[in-house]
């Protein structure tokens, strides 16, 4: 699906409210992301960034509000949605190998009575090669380094060949070289016309990586270009002055 052939937003969130046991995590968030954009989600810890992604994939049920992916309600979405989990939320002792995990990307389109076919296997191979883990197919995921683990889940998202990619902190805790490489992979996915929503923690790089920025702290504080969003007064409101100690270093780096 190329961005030109339909004007429907890839991700359309209207008045989304989510709470856990009475505690609000997201309040009345609304935004619409056009296809083919790479969008960064920025906000302090506990701002509801992961909750937003979980609501988008239908894992948590919103209290109210409307979510449309490629124009249809999320649970009936015709285009597929790939998800890259935050590294800390997974059980790394789970008995799966690298190849098993990447193959999970193919499950989305595989009918339940079918076994993976040659096309699935070649897609898995290609995705692993793209991310430089082609030599590790039989390695249990628990034995990988942090960077390799992140590559595996990115490979899974690529193998899924999805129109929309939702990534929860894919760049956290990586060395500079790996981060650069993975950002390149993400940028290539965008060039192919895919839409990416990336939870990101580093204000200093956000301006370089993303086309648009979502500022989130339970409420939506803004959605727009990095030039408009990464302004000191905007950031101060989102982070509720928690950035004060780092004022000079971070803000100067962040403001393009």
């Amino acid at each position: 699906m190329s961005p030109e052939e339909n004007n429907v937003p890839a991700i359309d969130v209207d008045n989304l409210t989510v709470s856990y046991g009475g505690r609000p995590a997201l309040q009345a968030a609304s935004f619409a992301i056009d296809p083919g954009l790479m969008v960064g989600v920025i906000g302090p810890n506990g701002a509801g960034k992961s909750t937003l992604i979980k609501a988008l994939v239908g894992f948590v049920k919103p209290d109210s509000g409307d979510i449309r992916i490629c124009g249809v309600p999320a649970h009936r979405a015709k285009c597929s949605v790939a998800y890259v989990p935050q590294r800390g939320t997974l059980d790394w002792d789970f008995p799966v190998t690298v190849e098993d995990v990447v193959m999970m990307g193919r499950y989305a389109k595989l009918r339940w009575w079918r076994s993976p076919e040659a096309t699935d296997k070649s897609a898995v191979r290609a995705a692993m090669d793209t991310l430089g883990i082609g030599n590790l197919p039989d390695r249990p995921i628990g034995e990988l380094s942090g960077g390799q683990q992140q590559r595996v889940f990115l490979a899974r998202a690529l193998a899924q060949d999805a129109e929309v990619l939702l990534l929860d902190e894919p760049l956290a805790g990586l060395d500079a070289a790996t981060e650069k490489e993975l950002v390149k992979v993400l940028a290539r996915a965008r060039v192919e016309g895919r839409t990416l929503l990336v939870v990101h923690h580093d204000l200093a790089t956000a301006g370089d990586y993303f086309d648009r920025i979502i500022l989130l702290n339970q409420k939506l504080f803004g959605y727009g270009t990095p030039q408009r969003m990464l302004q000191p007064d905007m950031l101060r409101r989102v982070y509720e002055d928690k950035l004060k100690p780092f004022k000079h270093t971070i803000w100067e780096a962040a403001v393009p």
Partner: protein, 312 residues
């Protein structure tokens, strides 16, 4: 010497009760081992406890209804249906109590499994002239007293559960490993979870005949945990867990014959011994492997936690 040895293994095999014990025990061991892998990976062991204790209530209820309504004594399928109803009831009670955020799930399970077990005991004691259930068999199991109906019931349940896991293997795998991704590709998580719970309940019902309420949870998770120490892929872990389970049944039954001990408990002890041996010698995740790979002089900070640093 060698004829005596063969004699020891062959003579019991001529007894029908021993054949039935081996066959029924193996069937349940296979089902327990396979579904047990999903139980430990989903951290449901405590739920297995709750289910098994609710069974007494269900068995008694099923027995009573079959007897009062149809006049049939100790009807196997009646008791299995009763147990399933009780299992569902137990789960409903647990989720009902967990509605209050302050009562966590394990607390709710702790309360409800004693509640349902007590209810079962009360029912049996109220209708003591109508219900002939041996509490000690229920608690300890009676693998040497398997009747044909139990054998068929466990065969049916085992095939049902195994074919479900075979057909929906990918669903179970991904829902256990990465539930958010599972939701994102449209896997109905609630349905998968309920199917798994129902499967556990079925296996527990049939297993109680063999090893009893107290031991069934061990039967469910010990072979699976043993396999977990060796395997890096879920499918292999399931196959190996089934094998470990069957080996425990054979080993335990022969051992119980040899030393003249309670069969169900001996089977469980055999399974635990097997686990401990694997725990020590497992090539990658065993204790030997850890000792071998740990640095000669552990960093000072580790030494501040004495017990753990001595062992690991």
């Amino acid at each position: 010497m060698s004829t005596g040895f063969i004699h020891f293994f062959l003579v019991p095999l001529q007894e029908t009760y021993f054949q039935k014990a081996l066959i029924a025990g193996s069937i349940v061991a296979i089902a327990c081992g396979v579904i047990g892998c999903l139980v430990i990976l989903n951290r449901m062991a405590f739920l297995g406890d709750a289910l098994s204790h609710a069974m007494l209530c269900g068995v008694a209820g099923g027995y009573l209804i079959m007897k009062l309504v149809f006049g049939v004594e100790a009807h196997s399928f009646g008791m299995i249906i009763g147990s399933l109803v009780a299992a569902l009831l137990a789960i409903a009670l647990v989720s009902f109590v967990s509605l209050v955020p302050r009562i966590k799930e394990d607390t709710a399970i702790g309360i409800m499994y004693s509640a349902t077990f007590s209810l079962g005991l009360v029912i049996i004691s109220l209708f003591i002239d109508r219900i002939h259930i041996s509490i000690s068999n229920f608690v300890m199991g009676d693998i040497l007293g398997i009747v044909d109906a139990d054998l068929w019931a466990s065969m049916f349940v085992c095939c049902l559960v195994l074919s479900f896991i075979y057909v929906f293997f990918r669903h179970f795998q991904i829902a256990s490993f990465d539930p958010v991704m599972a939701a994102s590709i449209g896997i109905p998580l609630v349905l998968v979870q309920s199917t798994l719970t129902a499967g556990v309940a079925l296996v527990v019902v049939t297993g109680i005949n063999m090893v009893g309420v107290i031991l069934i949870v061990g039967f469910l998770i010990t072979p699976a945990a043993t396999a977990y120490l060796i395997c890096d892929r879920l499918a292999r872990m399931m196959i190996l867990a089934a094998i470990f389970g069957v080996v425990s049944v054979f080993g335990g039954l022969y051992l119980s014959l040899f030393i003249n001990s309670a069969s169900g408990a001996t089977i469980m002890l055999f399974a635990v011994l097997q686990f401990l041996v694997v725990l020590i010698v497992a090539p990658k995740y065993g204790l030997f492997a850890r000792w071998r790979h740990s640095p000669v002089a552990p960093p000072r900070q580790v030494l501040k936690r004495p017990v753990k640093s001595v062992l690991l």
